[in-house]
Structure formats: structure tokens, C-alpha cells
């Protein structure tokens, strides 16, 4: 009996999980109640329960409790408001580095992606960077009487897989709907730095350095054809800043803002 009492909440929980969301698009269920299943006989020794006491009296709801009950029965997104499947995506981004206090890089990038599914796309991405020397270079040189080594990045070209496992919507100032998704990306490609060209040539003379990257971000969809993108991407590549220094794995971490235009501009809705 104790075991049954302990298992009762779990049973109720599993029953609740069978209906993760409240589908308001369905017509209301019929008011006719099905025939009650025959009740199993009470176990020997058990007291027969009064029908009125079988269901405890409902406690008055405190302010907000109704909201709590309703809130999470309604799915976060009933129907997706933005579909990407089989759509081409052309984007522009503006990255800036967040992990180099001495030589900061500002860039401009482009992206061409094809969405095979709503949650997966393959993208070709490229960026070009301008390097800006910060005041820390002078401070460091004056204090330590030494040079500060840097790998001067010129650009990159990457092939990325983009996975968008999370989809949702937000309220903008409590009234307007904005759909969004969150994505992860990973890819391979090439980074061109100052050592990629003459006179040094670098580890890969005359060409780029092999590179790998991972990242993530969030995209908002204010219209059927537009996405606003904010993300962080980390790129790793081997480089040798000076001939006398050892080759090391360079880390280029950029935060970027951008936008993307989807083709075709509209889509036909299909239930996900």
C-alpha cells in the first residue's frame, strides 16, 4: 500500500507527459463521457471509500496559480512560424575578435547556405579582417622591453554544418511575436594570415592554413525572408608568427552580428 502511495505521483506524472502540449487547434472533446471501466475489487481489508471523498476538494487558487497551470501546458511554439527547409540563405556578418587585447580584428563576412531541413544547413562562409593595434601593444613593449607576437589574420573560408536544435518564440515588449532559433555550427576550411604569402610562406607556403571551427548563436526571424543573427565562433589554425618562434595553434574567437535573406522569399507551411 505504501508502495502504491509512493508510485501514485509518478503515475500521474507519466500520464501528464503523454500530452506535452495543449493543441488548441483540435475541436473540443465530446461531452459524452465513455462508459466507466469496471473497478477492480478492493483489496481485502481495505475500507470502502465514499464517492464524495474519493476526489479531494479543490483548494482555492492563489493569484497566479491558474497562469502556472496553463502556462506550461501550452507548448512554447504551437506551429513553427518560420520554415527554412529547402531554402537558400544569403547572409552578411560583421565579426570582431574578443580574445586578442593587443591586435583586435574587425571584419566583414558573407555566407551562402542551403537548408536541407529546418534544423540542418550546409554553409560556405568567408570573412575578411582588418587588424587594429590597441594601446596595450605600446604599454607592453614599454614595460617588458620586448616584442608582442601576433598572427595577423587576413581572411578565412570555411565549410560549416549548422544544426538548429532549439526553436522558440519571444514576446517583444509583451505584444509582438518574434520567432527565433539557436544553432551550433562546426566546420573545416582555411585561414589566410600574413605568413601565408611571401616572403615567409608559412607552414603551408603560398596558401592558407588548415583550420577548424565551432560556434553557436541565435537567430531572430522578423519576417518570412529575413533573419537577424548573433553568434560566437572559435577558429583554430596552426601558424608561426615569426620565423624564430615555434609554430603554435592560434585561436581566433569572434563575436558577430549579421543578417540573412532567404530565397524564395516565402514558404508554404507544412506541419513539422
Amino acid at each position: 500500500m505504501t508502495l502504491l502511495l509512493l508510485l501514485a505521483p509518478l503515475a500521474a506524472l507519466s500520464q501528464a507527459q503523454e500530452q506535452p502540449g495543449l493543441d488548441l487547434s483540435e475541436p473540443p472533446p465530446s461531452q459524452t463521457s465513455p462508459e466507466k471501466a469496471p473497478q477492480p475489487p478492493p483489496p481485502p481489508g481495505a475500507k470502502p471509500r465514499d464517492a464524495g471523498s474519493a476526489r479531494p476538494a479543490e483548494a482555492p487558487l492563489a493569484p497566479g496559480e491558474r497562469d502556472v497551470a496553463l502556462g506550461d501546458r501550452v507548448k512554447a511554439v504551437q506551429l513553427k512560424g518560420f520554415l527554412k527547409r529547402r531554402r537558400l540563405e544569403l547572409g552578411i556578418a560583421f565579426p570582431c575578435t574578443v580574445n586578442d587585447a593587443f591586435y583586435e580584428k574587425l571584419g566583414v563576412g558573407g555566407k551562402l547556405a542551403y537548408n536541407f531541413e529546418d534544423s540542418f544547413a550546409l554553409a560556405v562562409r568567408g570573412s575578411y579582417f582588418w587588424q587594429i593595434r590597441s594601446a596595450h601593444v605600446r604599454e607592453g613593449q614599454a614595460a617588458f622591453s620586448s616584442q608582442i607576437l601576433t598572427s595577423r589574420v587576413n581572411g578565412q573560408a570555411m565549410l560549416d554544418g549548422i544544426w538548429s536544435p532549439v526553436y522558440g518564440k519571444v514576446a517583444w515588449l509583451g505584444s509582438r511575436i518574434v520567432h527565433f532559433d539557436m544553432y551550433l555550427l562546426a566546420g573545416l576550411g582555411s585561414v589566410w594570415s600574413a605568413t601565408s604569402s611571401t616572403p615567409r610562406g608559412g607552414p603551408f607556403p603560398g596558401g592558407g592554413h588548415a583550420a577548424a571551427e565551432v560556434g553557436g548563436g541565435i537567430r531572430f526571424y522578423p519576417s518570412n525572408w529575413l533573419a537577424l543573427d548573433a553568434g560566437v565562433i572559435g577558429t583554430l589554425y596552426p601558424d608561426q608568427p615569426t620565423a624564430s618562434a615555434p609554430s603554435t595553434v592560434q585561436k581566433l574567437i569572434v563575436a558577430q552580428l549579421g543578417f540573412a535573406v532567404f530565397f524564395p522569399f516565402s514558404f508554404e507551411y507544412a506541419r513539422p
Binding site: G81, C96, A101, H136, E139, I177, F220, F259
Partner: protein
């Protein structure tokens, strides 16, 4: 140093430009105008105090990485606007950039480190936050996670180890305090009606007058904290 401040201003301006002013519900959403954009806003902040014990770590450091701990106390005038005061105190360590390599690499001496800025000791701040976005998403198709996003800006009192103008062996500079400010973005992930995980990224700007040039310093911080809301109960009618 001003480059990073410029970058931040550009990023904030870009965010403002890209803000979804004309955002609209897709025609595909059959619940548009029938169900609120985010139905069941369980976690309401208006009229509540928010106390946040938090930890902070500096990012993109040239010479010193800062580890700060403290608290923030805020009041939410509405679901969108809040005012808060905060205090942070901590310690710092040198970054890899302070290794001086000739034949072998060695850490910079304390006399050398006295010439470079960035060793922040404590921060006191007041800030205004604007939180226009409230949303929820389903994780693993079951659990709904509620969150909000906000931008913030404020003024700070920044205490730091002062810098020496030239190498003076054996001389230790004292601490100095200057007025500064910060801009940032953040979000709350609501864990319960009275509790939320709070994440922030902010850039603190302050001046170091004893630097011969480039005396405007910027310092990027990532903060994480656990917020507690008082009172816990919802206010009816919201």
C-alpha cells in the same frame, strides 16, 4: 584601448538597428491574436526586488585576469525597466602575455607589472536595465524554459592598482579610484518563481590618468549569478 569601446558602441548600435521594430507574427501561426505571444508569462518581475549573488571573470585581458565576486540588488519598476546597484571585489592573476621570452620565457617582474594597467580591485556600480524580450522554449520537447533578455548601462566607481610612469625598482604604486561606466547585455533563465540564473556580458570603461597616453581603459566582464526575487508571489492582473 578606445578601439574596443568603439567596437562596443558599434555592436550596440547594430543591435539597436537590427531590433525587430517591425516584427510580426507569421501568418502561419494560427494562434496569432488568439493566444498571447508567449502564453503564460509565469515569471513576473514588476514590483519585485531582485538580489543576485554573482561571480565575474574578465575577458580579453592584456595583462591581468580578474576574478571578482559580489552582489547586485535591483528593483523592477515594470516588466521592462529596473534599477540596480552592485558591488564586486576580488583578485587577479597575470595573463600569458606577461611572459617575457628571450632565450627562455619568464614571468614579468613585479616592477615591470607596475607599469601596465588593468589590475582592478573592486567595482561599485549603479545601472538601468531594459528588458524588452520575454520568451520560452521547450527543451527535450517537454520542459518549458522561460527566459528574458535585456540591455543595461550604468556608472561605476572603479578601484585599481595605479601605474608608474617609469620603471622604479622597489616602488609599489598605491590604489586609485576613478569614475567609469558600463554597457552590457544579459539574460535570465527562470528556475522557479523566486529564482533565476542570471548571465551578463558587460564592458566597463574607466580612466587611468597616470598613463601617458591611451588612459581610457575598457574591460570586458562575464558575470553569472543566481537571482532571488522578493516577494515571491505574483501580482494579480499582470
Amino acid at each position: 584601448m578606445t578601439t574596443r569601446a568603439f567596437n562596443l558602441v558599434v555592436c550596440v548600435a547594430a543591435l539597436a538597428t537590427l531590433a525587430p521594430r517591425s516584427a510580426r507574427g507569421s501568418a502561419a501561426d494560427v494562434f496569432e491574436h488568439k493566444v498571447k505571444p508567449v502564453s503564460g508569462q509565469l515569471y513576473q518581475k514588476a514590483g519585485k526586488l531582485e538580489l543576485t549573488p554573482l561571480g565575474s571573470i574578465s575577458l580579453n585581458d592584456a595583462f591581468f585576469t580578474k576574478y571578482l565576486g559580489g552582489a547586485k540588488l535591483g528593483y523592477h519598476f515594470s516588466e521592462y525597466f529596473s534599477l540596480a546597484v552592485s558591488g564586486l571585489y576580488g583578485t587577479s592573476g597575470t595573463t600569458g602575455s606577461t611572459s617575457v621570452c628571450r632565450t627562455t620565457c619568464q614571468p614579468a617582474s613585479s616592477d615591470q607589472l607596475n607599469l601596465v594597467p588593468g589590475e582592478i580591485k573592486w567595482l561599485l556600480g549603479a545601472e538601468l536595465a531594459f528588458s524588452p524580450i520575454y520568451g520560452k522554449l521547450n527543451v527535450f520537447a517537454q520542459k518549458a524554459v522561460h527566459f528574458d533578455l535585456y540591455v543595461l548601462g550604468g556608472v561605476d566607481l572603479v578601484n585599481y592598482r595605479d601605474v608608474l610612469a617609469s620603471l622604479q625598482p622597489g616602488v609599489t604604486p598605491g590604489n586609485a579610484t576613478s569614475l567609469g561606466g558600463h554597457l552590457g547585455v544579459g539574460g535570465r533563465i527562470f528556475l522557479a518563481s523566486f529564482m533565476a540564473l542570471r548571465l551578463e556580458l558587460k564592458d566597463v570603461l574607466y580612466s587611468v590618468p597616470h598613463l601617458p597616453r591611451g588612459n581610457l581603459q575598457t574591460q570586458l566582464f562575464a558575470e553569472a549569478g543566481l537571482s532571488f526575487f522578493v516577494p515571491v508571489a505574483h501580482r494579480d492582473g499582470q
